[in-house]
């Protein structure tokens, strides 16, 4: 197991280097001179002398490989440069907004679990019932409804018509309810269906038939044999969607004026604040890759079939 973890961590290095290379190259796609943008954002007229001076300050006059190595060295020391707009360190800007995004994502994940676990189990136990049909409809809608529209529908209903929840901003748990629900719906719908399918697969498996033949109580069969096995693929899919949720919060944050990194990213795109966009992409990709790796390793740990199979190799 230790050897496996080590190998996987070692395998992460080229991927991280690749990610860093892509994010570095991204800034080279910029159709105008970043030094000029920097000067304009600082309200300084971009004279050729000033542009040359800023280019030297930002290291843009050096060869590309030297720029990359320099950037990589600094990034490894968590120095992502300075925001063009606020002149603050980029990492400080991101870490200022990240707790809000994390809070939104964690709340959504909790909501997804609260809804999809009981709903998926019930949909499998009462297959083809009205409840099952309803969960199918919800899953279908969840995959098709644009979440920015859903957000506004929820604001209209719960904030404007019923006056139950605040419309925008962050602060109290009540502020969190609508954005978290908006972000959670499509995932909750997907996992309900996934758990249902996974449970139905397990319920028709031989080991369940054997457990029943041994005369075990139905509750024990479902809890110990069906659910435990059915949860495995759901756990993996759920873990892998953490990165997607963190990244996907960008639209929800903009609908609800939620002060997270997604909103910061869109704001930076309008301001052409390239270092912030670059750092956002890098951090999100690193989180995404790390989450996937952890889930992959956790799956190996949770499922003895894979663990033992791997051990023999």
């Amino acid at each position: 197991m230790v050897r496996y973890v080590f190998m996987r961590l070692a395998g992460l290095v080229p991927v991280l280097l690749g990610i860093s290379l892509v994010t570095f190259i991204l800034v080279r796609l910029v159709p105008c001179d970043p030094a000029e943008v920097y000067l304009r954002l600082s309200q300084i007229p971009p004279t050729p002398e000033m542009v040359a001076s800023v280019r030297a300050d930002l290291g843009l006059d050096r060869p590309l490989y030297a720029q990359y190595l320099d950037w990589l060295w600094k990034a490894a020391h968590l120095d992502f440069g300075v925001s063009f707009a606020t002149k603050q360190p980029v990492l400080a800007e991101i870490t200022r907004c990240f707790p809000a995004t994390l809070q939104l994502t964690l709340a959504s994940m909790a909501l997804v679990l609260l809804v999809s676990l009981p709903a998926g189990i019930l949909a499998a136990l009462y297959k083809d019932s009205i409840f099952d049909q309803f969960s199918r409809l919800l899953a279908f809608l969840g995959a098709s409804v644009p979440n920015f529209w859903l957000g506004f529908l929820l604001i209209y209903l719960f904030s404007l018509k019923l006056d139950l929840l605040p419309v925008l901003g962050r602060g109290t748990p009540a502020h969190l309810a609508l954005p978290a629900a908006t972000l959670a719906l499509s995932y909750a719908a997907t996992y309900t269906r996934l758990l249902r399918t996974s449970m139905l697969d397990c319920m028709s498996a031989d080991f369940v038939l054997y457990a029943r033949a041994r005369g075990l109580r139905e509750r024990l069969v479902l809890g110990r044999h069906v659910l435990k096995n059915a949860l495995l693929p759901v756990t993996t899919a759920f873990g892998m969607s953490i990165g997607h949720m963190l990244a996907g919060s960008v639209i929800v944050e903009n609908v609800f004026a939620w002060p997270g990194v997604g909103r910061l990213c869109v704001y930076s795109i309008f301001n052409r604040d390239y270092p912030v966009i670059q750092c956002y992409a890098l951090i999100m990709a690193v989180i995404f890759v790390t989450c996937n790796l952890v889930v992959d390793m956790a799956y190996r740990f949770l499922d003895p079939r894979i663990r033992l199979g791997g051990g023999r190799q």
Binding site: V22, L26, P146, H244, G248, I269, R272, F288
Partner: protein, 277 residues
């Protein structure tokens, strides 16, 4: 499985046939918008702003007095047109890259697959945002972002298909007969994979439409005053309290089209894989 068999299977299902009809109707209304639309979608008439449904304006007008129905019809043209174009470009690029990678193999294959691995290591929305962030908001840049996010996934899939066909009997016999590589690819490999790739790409059209409207909603994609559903939703957000229909119509259009494409996608998956019921 041939394209004809797949279409016959699909048309046999009532729900799928209904979805196909909905998409056809919306596509036609977009394509024929200059003839069918009751008004100019960009004609501002402030005296008629926020008017309810009535003569001349079947769905009423928006905050600038523009006809909502006409904007929805022209919006279909842009939303669907952009989605189809993005899908076409994605498939074109990934077919070339995937086939090259799978057929040539060796170092080139390794290099292309590592590039794909790295691009797939980014959450797709983040990479799209980063590309738009660097190139700047706009329709063309949004399309570039969408294609650059998607091509790697398709290239990898096509490479897999080409790899399995490369060692099949008919390709080996062609090679033994002295047929050149490019001809084998064009005559024997591509015809065998393209129908499947095109069919699979329909699964993603709904996703592409959602992303295009999402980007335009954020102001990063199609820019006002161009009528596009996501941008219309963004325009309507300030009138949520006084005039919720401004947001309701474009949202319903996106929901309907994406739902129809998703249902067709599900049916296609079943049609391609007869084991699943």
């Amino acid at each position: 499985m041939t394209f004809g068999t797949i279409v016959t299977r699909l048309a046999g299902r009532k729900l799928t046939a209904a979805c196909l009809l909905i998409i056809l109707a919306i596509t036609l209304s977009g394509a024929l918008a200059p003839i069918l639309a009751p008004n100019d979608p960009n004609l501002v008439d402030l005296e008629k702003k926020l008017a309810g449904p009535g003569a001349g304006y079947p769905l009423g007008t928006d905050h600038l007095g523009r006809c909502i129905l006409s904007r929805l019809m022209y919006g279909a043209r842009i939303s669907l047109g952009t989605a189809f174009l993005v899908m076409f470009l994605t498939i074109a690029i990934s077919t070339v890259v995937g086939t090259l990678s799978g057929y040539r193999g060796g170092t080139l294959d390794g290099l292309i697959m590592r590039i794909c691995d790295i691009l797939l290591a980014f959450p797709s929305l983040v990479l799209a945002l980063a590309v738009i962030g660097m190139l700047g908001p706009g329709l063309l840049n949004m399309m570039i972002a969408m294609v650059s996010v998607q091509w790697a996934w398709y290239a990898r899939m096509i490479r897999g298909m080409v790899l399995s066909l490369r060692e099949s009997g008919f390709v080996l016999s062609a090679r033994v007969s002295g047929v050149s590589g490019p001809v084998i690819v064009a005559r024997h490999i591509l015809p065998n994979i393209l129908s499947q790739v095109i069919v699979l790409s329909t699964l993603d059209i709904g996703w592409v439409i959602l992303n295009i409207s999402g980007m335009s909603f954020l102001g990063l994609g199609i820019q006002p005053p161009t009528p596009e559903w996501g941008a219309m939703l963004n325009d309507g957000r300030q009138f949520l309290r006084s005039n919720p229909s401004l947001m309701a119509y474009p949202g319903l259009m996106i929901l309907t089209v994406v739902a129809a494409f998703n249902l067709i996608g599900d049916a296609l998956r079943d049609a391609l894989d007869p084991r699943e019921t």
